[in-house]
Symmetry: D2
Subunit: 352 residues, 4 copies
Amino acid sequence: MENIKLEEALSFPKDKIMQLNVCIFGVSGYTGANLLYYLLKHPNVNVVGVFGDSSSGRSLRELFPHYHNVPDINISNYKSFNFDNVNLIFSCLPHGSFQKSIISNINTSIPIIDLSGDFRLKDFEEYRNFYGEEHIAQIYSKSFVYGLSEIYRDEIKKSKYIANPGCYPTSILLPLIPLLKKGLISNQHLVIDAKSGISGAGKKLEKQYLFSEVNENFSSYGIKKHKHYAEINQELLKFGKNSFTFIPHLVPATQGLQSTIYLDKQNELSIYKKTLQDFFKKDSFVKIYKNTLPSFSDVVRTNNIAINIFEDYSKKKIIIVSCIDNLIKGAAGQAIQNMNIMFGFTESESLI
Amino acid sequence: MENIKLEEALSFPKDKIMQLNVCIFGVSGYTGANLLYYLLKHPNVNVVGVFGDSSSGRSLRELFPHYHNVPDINISNYKSFNFDNVNLIFSCLPHGSFQKSIISNINTSIPIIDLSGDFRLKDFEEYRNFYGEEHIAQIYSKSFVYGLSEIYRDEIKKSKYIANPGCYPTSILLPLIPLLKKGLISNQHLVIDAKSGISGAGKKLEKQYLFSEVNENFSSYGIKKHKHYAEINQELLKFGKNSFTFIPHLVPATQGLQSTIYLDKQNELSIYKKTLQDFFKKDSFVKIYKNTLPSFSDVVRTNNIAINIFEDYSKKKIIIVSCIDNLIKGAAGQAIQNMNIMFGFTESESLI
Amino acid sequence: MENIKLEEALSFPKDKIMQLNVCIFGVSGYTGANLLYYLLKHPNVNVVGVFGDSSSGRSLRELFPHYHNVPDINISNYKSFNFDNVNLIFSCLPHGSFQKSIISNINTSIPIIDLSGDFRLKDFEEYRNFYGEEHIAQIYSKSFVYGLSEIYRDEIKKSKYIANPGCYPTSILLPLIPLLKKGLISNQHLVIDAKSGISGAGKKLEKQYLFSEVNENFSSYGIKKHKHYAEINQELLKFGKNSFTFIPHLVPATQGLQSTIYLDKQNELSIYKKTLQDFFKKDSFVKIYKNTLPSFSDVVRTNNIAINIFEDYSKKKIIIVSCIDNLIKGAAGQAIQNMNIMFGFTESESLI
Amino acid sequence: MENIKLEEALSFPKDKIMQLNVCIFGVSGYTGANLLYYLLKHPNVNVVGVFGDSSSGRSLRELFPHYHNVPDINISNYKSFNFDNVNLIFSCLPHGSFQKSIISNINTSIPIIDLSGDFRLKDFEEYRNFYGEEHIAQIYSKSFVYGLSEIYRDEIKKSKYIANPGCYPTSILLPLIPLLKKGLISNQHLVIDAKSGISGAGKKLEKQYLFSEVNENFSSYGIKKHKHYAEINQELLKFGKNSFTFIPHLVPATQGLQSTIYLDKQNELSIYKKTLQDFFKKDSFVKIYKNTLPSFSDVVRTNNIAINIFEDYSKKKIIIVSCIDNLIKGAAGQAIQNMNIMFGFTESESLI
């Protein structure tokens, strides 16, 4: 199977403004709910189908009584849905579901933006190692472009399938890739201490995610192995880095994510900063701060990534502080941004 | 002024169980309130004087209506207090107050446990650099033992003056000192990413500590310079380390502190772990975990430090996770522990 | 001074779509920040002036680095500002400032939406009693329409001055006024137990609003007297009610407000419910829930009010649960809604 | 079966100080964990058996690595446990388990303190109505004394079986019973608006208790019917009250509970206050505040109940604010208090 270009797949010319008919798999999770929120605001989108196991049969209006302009449709089973007029599919399902049981059952000529980890890794050994199961939809995998909007905008524009990046990787790769391209990161001692709000865990019913467990708590997790390690590794390797340490932590907050990144200082701090400022000077969602420190509250409920860069008291390390909203720039927002790029809408449409 | 031994200073022989008359400077802050709580439970302590500017004149019972066994005394001005029968002074004042205006006005034959940073640093240049003002009580400084209980127990036992350690240093030095002693830490690339609850800021009336600012937020601070850097540096230097990076963060939780510490791997993980287990095998407040990850909720409102040690996926770094309650083991609890050590009480008395 | 009609005041015909030049007093508080956020999104608004004491001189872009499309202006002193081309003034200042020192210094031919309590009460005795100071701008007071959008839409449309309602009153009056009009509320035993997030206190630097005080806490306040009592009383009296009990509480959350309202049951529950459904059937921001219970999370960061109505187990009381976001429908959002009504824009413009 | 007196049941004379061998059913829940914490501190208690389904087989030390003095025992199945030397059984199991499947399988000559709702209601119709299932251990029910310590101290002293009260009832009955006894509460319009931290829901794995659902949220629940309604009703009826409204709410906090109680004013406020002060003057856990308002933070992690009483602005209602920790005075703490009363220990032993 060849890489499928978006224009070949579409039944309409991409350069005319048009109305997209959109479906969402997994609308009832946190990411799905955020995605729906943005899609309902988007002037070029009609939400025509919503699929979800746990809430099947329920009215979308009943599930989202506080949203405006909700179409009068029910959560349904995609197997009995008519996809004929659908222009775009979003999947917000948990890892594994889409590759294992859905993609082979749907009309794959329809463009897809998948927000899970199913199609991010190109190395199926790594997939098995980190996701703990076989990838059975490898045939589609190479057609998926890794949807890190600011880095792969040109490929996204032309692609039909997007593997929307993970939250940690988004916060880490955006500042690191420009620095790697300039040779400003040594091959050793890259330490990434990352902290995320709890919504990244979705609605999993596990004791550790109960309010009384999370509240007033703070904890490390995934110390020995975390799915996002493989994704960060794949992308850094494209630009030459080959060893790093990544330890994620859970913050008692719903949304927000910060990566504190420690680099060996190879050059003047100002060179690092200017590299980021230059690289992102046209990217309205990337905020390279001048003096202040970014924090969760600067980015939650926005599609922004806020970054600043410092040297520590020892003058031996460069410290990058990079913040996003894990559910927005780290999931639903970047997915909308990618849709806007793919279909030629204003990149920030409905995101500001 | 010579180092003053506790026994010389005391008017009673230390080996007989006795009742201490105790005073507290700064009782109305978070640390003071916790200290008072433990002192009121302690069978060998009578709280006889409490001093505080903002609450002067108010009844202690009125300020702490929910405490039990509160003596019927008022917050007063220490200048008009009769210290004749006082056996021990605690100071929970903000940094600077005790060294600048108090110690020279009180009877310095009374033992003191100071919970501020006033007498931790022995290098007055460092003090000026990190605390931003002159130290004017240098004459007393060398008599203060750095009260890291498990490390300096013998000195504490014999000393009359204790400089109670800071919260971050306590969480960092306890796991690092045994490893340094065994030569398990290389001279480079020690990265400490520390996270604390907000109560460490006390009751400072600054916008950044308002609920609406802190809640659902997470942020770095003190990136370029933090008072505790100097304290950690002083203590690590005693055991040979001379470069490290320390970045503190604020967690939206009241109490709790975690340091995630990244070391270059110099040896097998098991050697690191066994070193800590052996070193602390008789220390009931030090919990070296076997499998689970420590987190805030394991230590808050206890005098414990909970530690575990791992290697990361890259196998190049050793990761130490070290948790304490910043107000207890990081302040009031360790002060009580030091009092117990000094006066020959059971070390854990009233702390469990 | 006569009531000034909006059309007389405006230099443009209200029925043509146009671009408003807008100023904000008090942009740096929580309400001001939310108001700015909506105004920056609004296609018919240019923010041309922003005033604030504490942040005077600072660049608006620097203060809001995470906002998009921030005009390149500085926070300034209104006294040196040229109001010639200004079409609308918002004031988000703390209670008292606008009536005492500003309104008499500005060109009062410009329409004003005041979000403080300065012009809500028409009885100056009540004002003195509840606000603790004299009202010195009484001459303007009668020109201010109480901006409860869904109730006073027609008056708002014609008025030049709007006194934007308080957060508690909005949540309470919207469900009660339709029931009062239908005679469904007895003259006694109306109990309102209200709960608000902390942001209602703004950025006041008081110990009680520190994170460590609010977090994990819940408390009543204003039990004997609360400014909003007078406002609720004034409005209920217009429809005949004359005794009620109102006790507010602080919830450890930033945004959100719920009023739990207890009425003597005078009629079937279904009559109450239908009354609300009928009254608000065209109001897109009023969500009368069918089965589910509204809660903070249904309304935060929206301009919605979500209401449901029940009877309790004793069958003697009717319970209304009414939720809003205190900063949005309870402040900045309703102000935008009022602006949209005044100037003939779509009522929900930029609010959804 | 007759009411069983404690002294008949015990194999030792109650008036000699002794060491109790204690078992806990349901040690791994929040209440069980708190109970264990206090029992481990108690000088007259040995914890000899701990039972729990989900954690069966695991070592108690491993489950509570941060506790001190944990006995070296495993969580086991009570069916294979030898109860011969057991002096007291605590049950912290969810409602229903103890009455349905356990009490008939154990040696009922051993004293029991049951923290569930199984034996609180004496009317089995009410039990079926509110608990949704049959009571199949009715034979034991009349031997259970309702363990509201300050009210039923004398009965508790003599009883072998204690039904430990629910959290809401404890906060409500303690202030109301003394007022009812004095005839200060009218027969109508008693409104109780109660607010609890989330830990009351235990570790139930339901979506509504996930951190991301609870955090920054506030909600009513159980509006039409709540188990505690029946319990409050049963106890109030003993003192003559027969109608009230009770609406519970969930606060985004782990521990803490406040009942705001609205009474028709029948007499001077001072009479209400004095009645409570007199009634509880010897009860060290009941704090009748003089001026300040009690709040969660006054009582969490204590066995205190803090109460104050006011009149509202309308002067027609008396407002009682009553706060407890739902897990301590509302569960584990009151259970310990009851044990202390039963066995003649100091009533506050290990609770302060």
